[in-house]
């Protein structure tokens, strides 16, 4: 084994070094290609989590893994060279690990050394004018781990026998699932579960392919299981690509929905929206209204609201974004400085644009012109995010207004004793010039208020009595400040959902009107061909996995999950109908499978296992079976005329043996075989 390690390392080190050099150059290009700004959508301040950097880790790492895997296996697969290698007195296990261990190590070397090297460079003061947190490595690191599956897929694809489009292509497609899961999954546990599942399956599949000399049929049972489930992921990815292609060719109609708006004349309306088009605007009485002098309403015709949360919702973190650790707040090219809010310290950090170094910290006790942070930060509410220029900093019992151009922060509100601050946001006043904000709205558990930034109260109204029924309140103010509207949004997680309520108030805080918002019945439910197709082709096995994972995540406190028997009608019945359809299609596929089993000579216990598999994985399972299994050649039987498998000594129909060769008298057979 040691000799194999040495050989593989020596043989492939040059490729790993080349890949490492390429990855390093690409990473530096991604970090240095655009100025370190965070305006106009540039996010290079995110360094290891910036989109161009993650582009390298998302696509570059898999490319390196694939290249190293194929270089390692294809150069060895020349017939005599491979035969010479595998005939050596060493187990197939040793040959696999002798290749896979150094190969995987070289891949990790090729991507992790540049990653941590670049990470170290970014962490050095003066490299990038932004804070650095080693947790930024997490996203590209998981990309690297997920991309390791591409390496194993390349090994498997190289070793497997058969045409390229079947059992050789499927693992390569399947491992895209892990990379995509890591890239697009908002929830970290789901992302990691997807990527690690595919990684483990690809490892076991490649291992089994080596043990069986590239044959599915001869693979050990665990290897067959790994190849089969990896194949399912492959079919899943392929069907995803097909759906994406279909939607590209035949785009869906734009999103349609209904929303409550307030016109600038103070008329509450329901707006039916189709994409960006405000298709229909009706009053709460049902009367349709039309804009003057133009074809359709636009956003400028309505008041802009301030959203105030009423409940602390558990939110997942954007684990692939640097915003989880620090936020860009403001840039000032005149000074010139960049401001960030560092979440862990709950402090503002100022970076010099020229020196690219930390210049100081801004906290509740003022500005500290030193890289050493003050001990006390802002007492933030949990799950608080700090967004944008001139935004407010909402703490547990106070609201602060940063004025970063002056390196100052001032407390503009303190919550009275016995009240609980729920949320705050600036009040938008487009009519006072270019979205400038001078006032802010806040919600406590007792009142909703509007105050000027200097703290002067402008408006106050007691909270609605049944506050627990609502998730947020949206505050609208008439341009002449004569009236206020508070739209209380009913909680989605309650069943039945409480209706939203629109409260109209005078400037003095007297409730003038309280109107329940007409509920949107949504699209009427109907069974159509697409619904039946979607329900039946989704494998029941996938549903079971989703239920199991939901339960697991729920137990870990990651997400909410409810067993089917706790679902409300009519959703419970519909879900059960969906599952029934899926199982029905599974039964049809298991029936079709019986024909394939005969053709593929699958009998006994494997036949039962495959039948159950097809029951749970219906059409996808059939595709996997057809792709992975070796299809025996058939020849016409000289005895019965039927087609018989060349792999069997006797005809499956008539039991006849293969006809003996007719001697032509030229045979020279002196050394007859004993027995």
């Amino acid at each position: 084994m040691k000799a194999l390690f040495w050989k593989e390392t020596r043989e492939n080190l040059k490729w790993a070094l080349l890949a490492a050099a390429g990855i390093t150059a690409a990473m530096f290009y991604a970090l240095r290609s655009s100025p370190n700004e965070f305006q106009y959508g540039r996010e290079t301040w995110q360094t290891l989590c910036s989109p161009p950097f993650l582009l390298i880790s998302s696509f570059g790492f898999p490319a390196v893994a694939l290249a190293l895997g194929f270089l390692q296996i294809l150069t060895e697969l020349r017939r005599d060279q491979w035969a010479f290698l595998v005939h050596r007195p060493v187990t197939r296990n040793a040959i696999f690990w002798g290749k896979a261990f150094p190969g995987a190590a070289l891949y990790l070397f090729a991507v992790l050394v540049p990653l941590f090297g670049v990470g170290y460079w970014v962490s050095l003061p003066g490299s990038v004018a932004a804070p650095f947190d080693w947790r930024l490595v997490q996203a590209p690191l998981w990309d690297a781990i997920a991309a390791l599956a591409f390496y194993f897929a390349a090994l498997q694809s190289g070793v497997m026998s058969g045409p390229w489009f079947g059992r050789r292509l499927l693992p390569l497609v399947a491992v895209c699932f892990g990379a995509v899961a890591i890239k697009i999954s908002w929830q970290f546990p789901a992302a990691v579960t997807g990527a690690l599942t595919v990684l483990v399956l690809s490892l076991f599949s490649a291992w089994a392919a080596f043990l069986s000399n590239g044959s599915f049929r001869n693979a050990p049972a665990w290897g067959k299981a790994a190849m089969t489930f990896l194949g399912l992921f492959g079919v899943g990815v392929l069907s995803g690509w097909l759906v994406a292609g279909w939607q590209l060719a035949f785009p869906r109609p734009p999103y349609t929905g209904k929303d409550v708006r307030i016109t600038k004349s103070g008329q509450p309306v329901m707006v039916t929206q189709e994409g960006q088009w405000m298709k229909k605007v009706v009053t709460f009485d049902g009367a349709e209204i039309h804009p003057e002098n133009k074809g359709a309403f636009s956003w400028e015709d309505f008041l802009r609201g301030s959203y105030l949360p009423l409940r602390q919702e558990r939110t997942g973190s954007e684990w692939r974004s640097a915003r989880t650790y620090f936020m860009p707040v403001q840039n000032n090219y005149a000074l010139p400085v960049f401001w960030y809010f560092v979440n862990d310290r709950a402090l503002f950090a100022r970076y010099g644009q020229i020196s690219k170094r930390l210049e100081g910290w801004l906290g509740p006790s003022g500005m500290t012109e030193s890289p050493v942070p003050p001990a006390a930060g802002f007492d933030l509410r949990p799950n608080t995010n700090f967004y944008g220029i001139d935004a407010l900093l909402v703490c547990k019992d106070s609201i602060w207004r940063p004025e970063l151009n002056r390196s100052e922060v001032s407390k503009i509100y303190s919550v009275p004793e016995g009240e609980k601050l729920l949320g705050a946001q600036a009040v938008y006043e487009p009519d006072r010039g270019d979205d400038r904000r001078f006032d802010f709205a806040l919600a406590t558990d007792r009142t909703v208020e509007v105050r000027a930034f200097d703290g002067v109260p402008i408006f106050s109204i007691p909270q609605i009595s049944n506050l627990g029924d609502y998730s947020q309140v949206e505050l609208f103010r008439m341009p002449d400040r004569s009236r206020y509207f508070l739209l209380y949004i009913g909680r989605y997680d309650l069943d039945p959902r409480p209706p939203s309520v629109l409260v109209e108030s005078s400037a003095a805080g007297d409730v003038a009107k309280k109107t329940p918002v007409p509920s949107d019945p949504g699209q009427p439910w109907k069974w159509d061909l697409q619904t039946v197709w979607n329900a039946s082709t989704k494998p029941f096995g996938q549903t079971l996995w989703e239920q199991a994972l939901g339960r697991l995540y729920s137990a870990c406190g990651v997400q909410k999950w409810m067993p089917i028997w706790k679902h409300k009608e009519p959703w419970r019945t519909r879900t059960l109908q969906f599952w029934g359809l899926s199982l029905l299609f599974g039964m049809v596929c298991a029936g079709v499978g019986q024909v394939l089993f005969k053709r593929l000579a699958i009998g006994g216990r494997p036949r039962w296992i495959w039948t159950v598999f097809l029951l749970f994985y219906n059409g996808a399972g059939l595709l996997v079976l057809a792709c992975l299994h070796e299809w025996p050649r058939k020849k016409r039987c000289a005895n019965c005329g039927g087609r018989r498998s060349v792999e069997r000594s006797v005809c499956g129909c008539c039991g006849a043996s293969w006809p003996p060769r007719q001697p032509d008298g030229t045979e020279i057979s002196e050394l007859s075989k004993p027995g």
């Binding site: 040495w6 005599d80 035969a83 060349v646 069997r648 020279i668 075989k673």
Partner: protein, 308 residues
């Protein structure tokens, strides 16, 4: 009774719809030097790979040293030396490193043999194996295969592409391993002079079918070339079982026949106005006659009329 070291039973291999080895029944006894002959694409290399368990048979089975080829364990493989065609070595390794790499897989390694074969091929241990000539590469591979002193040596066309001197060196080295009587060699080759020099027994594979399996002398004896001279006109021949080729020219009919039985020979001799002559055949001629194109050919000077 001698021990059988290689045995096949209805061994068959299909590549797609093409049968490359067809119902092969073969047995090779311990101590023999067995030549495996056939034209390109006859199925020799495939058979060797099937025997070594490197390919999965479509049906049938084979046994090497008493073990099913599909279940050859590392300890069985250690007893079988295999030299594939092409003489592959890792070009970036030096000769010394190649030996060290190969040695790491074997419990038993006779470095004297390794060194002896290297010196026989005049190989410098410090040379990069990628810089070696084809003959030297063959020598290095042979040294690597012989040093573990295998009981059974399987060589797949070892002389392919070698010049006569290298071929001679290879054969000498190969014979070196058979000093012990219980060593067996199976080798495939196109070089019939080499086969003639060393093989005791041969098997001839034609389009995947075993057509001859005999001692070398028997093959030479059974494939005969007979010339019948006559006075002109068309000579009517009796039906001849085992007739491989007929070549007609003016006043002469040349026949290549396998297994000519006494009655047929008598019938040929008894043809009126015909002289019966048998021409001695070397292995190469016998082989070409045996696996070459069958049927009747002719060459008459009258055919040249009109050709300037």
């Amino acid at each position: 009774m001698a021990e059988t070291v290689i045995e096949t039973d209805g061994l068959t291999k299909f590549f797609g719809g093409r049968c490359v080895v067809d119902e092969l029944d073969l047995s090779i006894e311990r101590g023999s030097i067995f030549g495996f002959l056939g034209r390109n694409g006859a199925g020799k290399s495939t058979t060797i790979r099937l025997l070594l368990g490197l390919l999965e048979p479509t049906r049938g089975s084979s046994r090497m040293l008493g073990t099913d080829s599909r279940a050859l364990a590392p300890r069985d493989r250690a007893r079988i030396g295999y030299l594939p065609e092409g003489h592959h070595v890792y070009g970036w390794m030096s000769v010394e490193e190649c030996g060290r790499f190969q040695r790491s897989f074997y419990r038993h390694w006779n470095d004297d043999i390794f060194r002896a074969v290297l010196s026989h091929f005049r190989l410098d241990r410090r040379n990069k194996s990628g810089n070696l000539s084809r003959g030297q590469r063959a020598g290095l591979c042979l040294a690597m295969v012989l040093a573990p002193e295998p009981e059974l040596l399987v060589l797949d066309d070892p002389a392919l592409g070698l010049d006569p001197v290298a071929r001679r060196s290879l054969i000498q080295s190969m014979l070196f391993v058979t000093r012990k009587a219980d060593r067996t060699i199976l080798f495939s080759s196109h070089m019939l002079s080499d086969v003639e020099r060393v093989a005791d027994e041969i098997a001839v594979l034609d389009c995947g079918t075993l057509r001859a399996h005999c001692r070398l002398e028997t093959f030479r004896r059974q494939v005969r070339q007979i010339t019948l001279r006559h006075r002109g006109g068309t000579l009517e021949l009796p039906a001849l079982p085992g007739l491989l080729q007929t070549f007609r020219s003016e006043g002469e009919v040349s026949l290549t026949v396998a297994n000519l039985d006494p009655a047929s020979e008598e019938a040929l001799r008894a043809l009126p106005g015909v002289s019966f002559e048998e021409e001695p055949m070397g292995l190469e001629e016998a082989f070409i006659g045996y696996v070459g194109e069958r049927g009747e050919k002719s060459f008459f000077t009258t055919d040249l009329k009109g050709i300037k």
